[in-house]
Every structure is written in C-alpha cells, then in structure tokens.
C-alpha cells in the first residue's frame, strides 16, 4: 500500500457568511483509503492541532444514501465515473496532487457549513408530486397489474437515483432536470403512476422552478457526474410529458365533465 502526499484546497464557510479556500497539507494518506477516510484523517489532525475540522455530509459510505456531496477538482463526486464521493478511493490520485474540495454549489443548495449544503429543495419537489396517491391497505394484489419486464427495468433505471444532487452541482446552470426527470420518470413509466401523470409532471416541474434551479441546456454534464449514471433521455421524457400535460391543461382536457354544468 502506497502513501500519498497531497495538497488540499478546501472550501471553508459558516452559514451565510462569505467563504474562502483553506490550504491544507495532507501527507501520508494510504491509497487504499476512500476519499472520505482521507478527510477523516485530515480532520483528526486538524482537531489535534486545535483547529476547526472540515464539516461534510456523509452517512452510508456505500454509495447509496446520497448524503456525501463534494465537488472534487471541479467535478461533482470527483473524477471517477458512476461513483459517489464516499466510494472514490485515493488510488485514483497521485502523490503531489493538488486537490480542490468544494461544496455542491447552487443557489438552490445554500451552504450550511464548509462542504455541507442544504438540499431540502429536492424533498419539496417530491412533496409536490413524487408519489402515487395510494393509502396504506388500499392496494390491489401485487400481481394483478402485470408490468412488462422492459417497463419495470426502465422504471428501475430511473429509480436508481440516490438524490445526491451531483447533477445540479455539475450542471453549468445548476439545473435539477436530471433528478426531477428520474423521479417523475419512474412513476410516469409505470402503470401504477399513470392516473396522476399529468398532475405530477406539472407540479414537480413548477416546484423545481420555484426553488431557483437553472434550466437545462442539454449539455449533459449531469449524466457524466451522476453516480448512478441516470440517462439524460429521462429529461427528454420529462419534456415530452410536460408538453403533453401543458397542452391538456391549456385546452382544459379532462375537465369537460366536471365543468359541463357551468
């Protein structure tokens, strides 16, 4: 196992106060360690030296909870494709490297502290329509509605999203389209989600806009950064679903019945 000597440039910030980069030397880092374990080592040293350790979000360290969130050398989750920060290992770096470590930057993701950001905007988008309105206990027998393997697989592709926000962080416009399209796309693809498709699509997109994310310019930086490699074709689907839902809303389709009495 080799040891690496690294120079870090780490973003330090407390709440809404202006932040800055701190230069931190990180000598003798085992190359088998994960990126977060490297940060653990750095923090232990900072604490022992009486300094403030670097705050960052993490939990599962298995690449599934979506909590970890660092922009490493300008790339959300770092240079390895399809990999979260916690699953990135130091053997991807060389001794002597300078590594920039920044938070996931977006207006809609305000910095909490150092590398921790507030991604509650994602929860509010889900709240706007990211569900099937079925009550507990009101479900039909599971095999009653057959779902073709292709459809189920496609829905699963979208459902793999871990809600990390790397798509937003890597997008030149801090757009959340990949996330929203994956979330809406999963449910819009499955028969279970069909009844609420239009309402869901409109509501989720509107909430996304209200949160202050940017707009998609079809550059696909999101897909390249996404640890689950969610395809940008989900964005195409969201665009289509949104267009259809908007036109229906525009002409009032589906409302004739209820308004017939007016």
């Amino acid at each position: 196992m080799a040891l690496l000597n690294l120079h870090l440039k780490v973003w330090r910030q407390t709440g809404t106060q202006p932040g800055h980069f701190q230069d931190i030397e990180a000598p003798e880092i085992p190359d088998h360690a994960s990126f977060l374990e490297m940060m653990d080592i750095v923090n232990e040293r900072l604490i022992r030296a009486g300094q403030d350790p670097v705050a960052f979000d993490h939990d599962c360290r298995e690449g599934i909870c979506g909590m970890c969130s660092m922009t490493i050398n300008g790339m959300a989750h770092g240079p390895e494709r399809g990999t979260t920060t916690c699953q990135l290992h130091m053997r991807k770096f060389r001794t002597g490297d300078t590594i920039w470590v920044e938070p996931f930057r977006a207006r809609a993701f305000p910095v909490v502290k150092d590398l921790m950001v507030d991604r509650s905007a994602f929860d509010r988008i889900m709240k706007a329509g990211g569900y099937v309105s079925v009550r507990t206990g009101a479900a039909p027998e599971a095999n009653e509605i057959p779902v073709g393997k292709e459809i189920a697989d496609a829905a699963m592709d979208a459902a793999a999203c871990i809600g990390c926000g790397a798509c937003v962080a890597s997008c030149k416009n801090a757009s959340a389209m990949l996330y929203v399209s994956a979330k809406a796309g999963q449910l819009n693809t499955l028969p279970q989600g069909h009844a609420e498709k239009d309402r869901r699509t409109l509501a989720m997109v509107r909430q996304m806009d209200a949160e202050g994310f940017g707009n998609c310019t079809n550059q696909y930086e999101c897909e390249a950064a996404c640890p689950k490699e969610i395809s940008v074709r989900w964005i195409a689907k969201l665009n289509r679903d949104y267009a259809v839902a908007s036109v229906k809303e525009l002409v009032g389709a589906g409302r004739q019945q209820s308004q017939a009495g007016e």
Binding site: I64, M126, G130, P140, A142, G148, M156, A159, G163
Partner: protein, 638 residues
C-alpha cells in the same frame, strides 16, 4: 416489574385477526386531536408516519439526516421476504413463520413472528402500488430469488437496491402526507432524550443539527423507529450515523432493553484493509447463490494467488460442513465457519482475515455476461473499494457486524414497558430471536410501520386525553436542562483525544471480546475495560467548536458517549446468557463439532434489562418463551 407480552389468545393463525377485531377504534374526528411523534424515517418510521397521518393523526417525524430518504434502510441490497408463493414451490405463511422462528434459533415470540409472516403479503401489494420497481419476469409478474436460510424462493428484490426502492416508496407516501399537512417533518434533527411525564411517555428533546438549538416536543405518544446499534463495534456495515442514543436514552428513562447480546454478523463483507478504515461494506448475500466459499486446505498456500491453488487443495468448507444448505447456510453459521477457517491460519488476504468467494465456476457455466447482469453493480463496488476484479480472481470476504436483533422490549402492541413508548423496526427486539434470516428486516420494518402500529397504537391512545401534557410540564424542563448539560459537559472536557479514537478503541474491544465468538474470560475483561475507557472519555475527549452551530464532532461525541454506556450492557448480557444461540456464540457452549449448543431448559426466555441508576448493575427481567406451534429442535442446516 412484570413484562406482559399481551399475546392475544386463540389459535396461532387467528391471533392477529382477533387482535385487530378487538383493538380499540378512535373515530375520525377524534383522531385529529391526537398527536404522535415518530423518531426515525427509515422503513419503520416512514411507513408508520405516513400510515398514521393517513388515518388522521397529527404526526411529527424526525430524522438526523438531511432528508428522510437517506435513512439507513436505504442501504439494504438483497431483498424482502413475503409468503406469496408465486413460485409454487410450497411456500406459505406457516412456512415463513416456521423458517423465521427456526432461523431465530427459537428465541423469538411465536405470535409476533406469525403476524409478521401474515402481513408480509400485504407489504408487497402496498409497495407495488406505490411504484416500487421490483424485478419482473417477461410475463409481467413479480420475480423471486432464494436467500440464505430458506429452501423456497420467496425473496422480492429490485436489482441490488431493494432497501432503497422500498424506502423510496415509503418516503413517497411520507412526502404525500407532508404535502397534505398531516406530517410535520424535521430533518437534521437528532433526538437526545425521551420525556416521561407522570409515568407516560409524552415527548422528546431534540437538537437541531444546523442551528444547534435544543428543543422540546410534546405529543400523546412517541414511536421510536431509530434502527439498530451495530456501530457500537465501530466497524460495521451500518451507516456512520447509526446510533443507540434514542433507544439508550429511553432505556435510561425506564424502558427495558431486551437481548442486547443478539447481534448478527454478516458473512459476506469486504475485509478490513487498514486502521484508517471507517466502515465495512456488505456484499449482498445473494452472491452466495452463485459464489462458492473456500480457503486453502494448507496454511502454507495462503500467500499464493488463488489461481495457483489446485482444486484438490481447496477447502469448500460450507459445502463440506453443511451439505444440504452448502453456501446458502444461514448467516451466523457461515460467519462462524469463516472465522474458524481463519483462526485455523488458513485465511487469505492482508492480515489473514478473509476467505474466498469464488465465481469462476458460475462464470464458466453461465458466461460472464449473465454474472454481470446478476451482480454487476456489486462487482463494480468491490473493484472500486479493493482495486481488484472479481471476474478475474475470487472475491475476498470476511464477516462483519451487520444487524442487531436486540432492542427495546415491546409487547404485542409494539409498546414498551414504558407506557406510551412504542418501538418499531430494528430498534425493537421482537421478531428475529437470536438470529435474523436474510431479507426479513425490511419485512419487519414495513410490517411494523404499515400494518401493525396503525392498528395497535389506538389501544394506548384511547387511554389518554389528547394534548393532556404540553412542553410546559416540569418533566420537559428537567429533560431540556439535562440535554443542554450533557452538551456543555462534552464541549468542556477539552481533552486530547478525538471522539473517533475513543470509538475505535471501544469498538475493537467489543468486537474482540463480544463479536463472533464470546467467552467468559473475554467478556469479563471487556466489562472491566469498558468503564475505564468511558472514564477516560469523559476526562480526555476533545470536542472542537461550539454547540450553537452545525458541529458533526459534537454529534458523534454524544453518540459515542451512549455507546460507551450501552457496550457494558451488551457484554453483560452476553456473559449472562450461558448458552450459544443464533448470533450469540459462547465458546464454552458448543458441540464437539463446533456447532452452537442451546440450553432450552435454562435460557428459553427474553432477557430484558431495566436501568437501575448504576450502569454496572442493570436489573434483569425474564419473559419466558413458550412454543405452541413449533417444536424446539436442534437447529441443523446439515
């Protein structure tokens, strides 16, 4: 104290339906007046919060992560069991019930397990309706696979992400209820204490992890759905934030803690690679469907590359010892077998703590593509972590702490001995006995949250006047002061050692003495050492920063402080239980061939500990276990 399990009378198969019949109802208008605190947003918590809100209760839900979707349930890979018998392979509610009781080494309550098996089928229906993308067959029906410890295919799965998909389903239901106004969600909020007012559980004390504000919340009942305590071992497959704080604080307020020594070691984890390691990573058990476990027959072969060890010199020890289950033997058994091989000096990889999980035969038989389709993401994960490709050489695996069967004691209504405190999911002790079968924790969390608590919580609530106790009650003031006091105490030690260094020291000790194999001498040593480490912690820990901002070190310190106390109870229970059962293996109690030796005569009970005020002198209460349906037998997987 008498522990009344409140098991309904009647035949096993009718207990739950009778209990539902007999449970109290609250009319919709009155439900709105009751408020419920749900701590935790994992499968158990999210399912409970959503379902209770649908019923009309006012729910406040808490989690320490930044979103309910990140609860540790998200990490479950393998699958969820249900007695659907879609495969027509002879499965039934009774068989799932039987397998679970046997898998738990006859240390679980029959009635609870039967209920679990009954509602398992509803869970799948519910999740499918929510849009959970379970694996399907071409015809459009749901697919199944088999899992350790079962001879039928009853496990439903969603690639390697079953936990995430189920949790996203529950989270979507929760989101729907948050939108409707039925649930008030508090993220990045950690529960620090439980508030018991005049003998009834009426609230919690929390700390806002962003602002540092310590606050009191009152409600008519409290549900703890805070997961397991596996991180007492420092290295485990649990997420970094998993903690015992919520349940431990409840214990200190009077809730009995049951069977803490029942901890599960998962056989297929990636071995430790160095002392910087922060956690261990599980490789789904499903890998054992196609992988064969072996070590070299001769210790001197261990240094050689696997490819240079001829077939004849390999010891496929699971197949050899357990011919009928082979590589699919239950977790505790497989883990112990791996430990034995390594103790025998035949372990592979750095430090000799690893065994091979070999796919070469499956790759030859089905082709690399098929294996890639089945396990591609796991192989990728393995390669990212170890830098080795499991297509080219066998994986190295070693057991690691994974799940904790013990937890707060609850009755059939999921209520603790502490009136008004309900405990769901991994946080309670109820359904898995001394060992949990694969794909059963997800089932239990969702069963508790979706189907059990919505019925049983009313039995308690009808005895309460809604809103009777508010945060103005002196019990809240006392608890607030205590919580603030602890925070200040932690910050003011200003010692020399980091929180992690203490956690690591404690974890290593507990793993060493109270891990896969336990014996009296080791446990006694641990019981001597733990109070010393704890004392040093309070004198020498260094927690930087202040309590009034986001301070992850302070959060960790609080959790580790509770692990320090809990670890003692864990070892004490392990010492007290002079038998081997399930995940609890006392080296003194084994058959000559190394199999666990249960002692039904003397230990067929649940150990429930009451806090006495002295950490070293908990009061043991015993709930005897009686078996009507299942005959106590030697648990053999040969």
């Amino acid at each position: 104290m008498k522990l009344d399990s409140k098991i309904p009378s009647g035949p096993m198969a009718e207990k739950w339906s009778r209990h539902k019949q007999d449970s109290k109802l609250i009319n919709p208008k009155n439900k709105r007046k009751y408020s419920i605190i749900v701590v935790g947003s994992g499968l158990a918590g999210a399912a409970a919060a959503a379902s209770l809100s649908e019923l009309g209760y006012k729910v406040k839900c808490f989690c320490f992560q930044d979103s309910p979707r990140r609860a540790h349930s998200i990490a479950a890979q393998g699958g969820i069991n249900a007695a659907k018998n879609y495969q027509n392979d002879g499965d039934s509610v009774h068989r799932l019930f039987y397998d679970t009781v046997k898998g738990g080494d006859f240390r679980a309550r029959e009635a609870n397990v039967h209920r679990l098996a009954e509602v398992s089928v509803n869970i799948i229906d519910q999740c499918v309706a929510q849009g959970v993308p379970f694996a399907r067959e071409y015809g459009g029906g749901l697919a199944n696979r088999s899992f350790g410890g079962a001879q039928v295919s009853r496990t439903f799965y969603a690639r390697g992400q079953t936990g995430q998909q189920l949790l996203l389903g529950a989270y979507s239901a929760l989101s729907k209820e948050i939108a409707r106004g039925g649930v008030e969600m508090h993220t990045r909020t950690e529960m620090l204490d439980l508030v018991v007012a005049d003998g009834e559980t009426k609230g919690i004390i929390t700390r806002n992890l962003v602002t540092g504000k310590v606050e009191a919340h009152a409600a008519d009942t409290v549900l703890l759905c805070t997961g397991g305590y596996g991180n007492v071992f420092f290295l485990s497959t649990n997420a970094m934030g998993c903690n015992v704080t919520a349940t431990w604080r409840a214990h200190r307020r009077g809730a009995t803690f049951a069977n803490p020594c029942y901890t599960q070691i998962h056989p297929t984890c990636i071995p430790v690679s160095g002392d910087y390691q922060s956690k261990l990573t599980l490789m789904s058990e499903s890998l054992r469907n196609d992988g064969r476990v072996w070590v070299p027959k001769k210790a001197e072969d261990c240094g050689k590359p696997a490819s240079q060890i001829p077939e004849a010199d390999r010891d496929y020890f699971l197949e050899r010892k357990y011919p009928s289950f082979g590589n699919l033997a239950p977790r505790d058994i497989s883990s112990r077998a791996a430990k034995e091989a390594c103790d025998d000096g035949r372990g592979v990889g750095p430090g000799g703590r690893g065994v091979y999980l070999d796919f070469s035969e499956a790759i030859n038989e089905f082709g690399e593509n098929v294996i890639k389709e089945r396990y591609g993401n796991l192989f990728d994960m393995y390669e990212r972590i170890t830098g080795e490709s499991a297509y080219k050489q066998p994986m190295r695996i070693y057991p690691a702490v994974h799940y904790t069967m013990g937890g707060l004691w609850v009755d059939y209504n999921l209520m603790s001995n502490l009136s008004g405190l309900h405990v769901l999911g991994e946080a309670n002790f109820s359904d898995h006995g001394a060992n949990r079968l694969g794909a059963s924790a997800l089932m239990q969390g969702l069963a508790d949250g979706y189907f059990v608590i919505p019925t049983t919580v009313a039995n308690y609530l009808v005895t309460q006047k809604p809103g009777a106790v508010t945060t103005a009650h002196p019990a809240f003031k006392e608890a607030l002061e205590a919580a603030n006091g602890r925070i200040n105490q932690l910050l003011n030690v200003k010692g020399k050692r980091t929180v992690d260094s203490f956690h690591r020291e404690l974890g290593l000790l507990v793993w060493d003495k109270c891990g896969m194999g336990r014996n009296r001498a080791g446990l006694e040593e641990a019981l001597r050492r733990i109070p010393e480490i704890r004392a040093e912690f309070w004198e020498n820990v260094l927690v930087p920063g202040s309590g009034s901002v986001a301070n992850p070190e302070l959060e960790k310190a609080g959790r580790v402080a509770d692990f320090m106390e809990f670890a003692e109870l864990l070892c004490r229970d392990a010492l007290d239980r002079e038998e081997s059962c399930g995940g609890h293996f006392r080296e003194e109690h084994q058959f000559p061939d190394g199999e666990a030796k249960r002692d039904d005569e003397n230990f067929c009970y649940v150990s429930a500990y009451e806090y006495s005020g002295d950490l070293s002198k908990p009061i043991l209460h015993k709930e005897p276990l009686t078996f009507e349906e299942v005959h106590l037998t030697l648990r053999s997987y040969k």
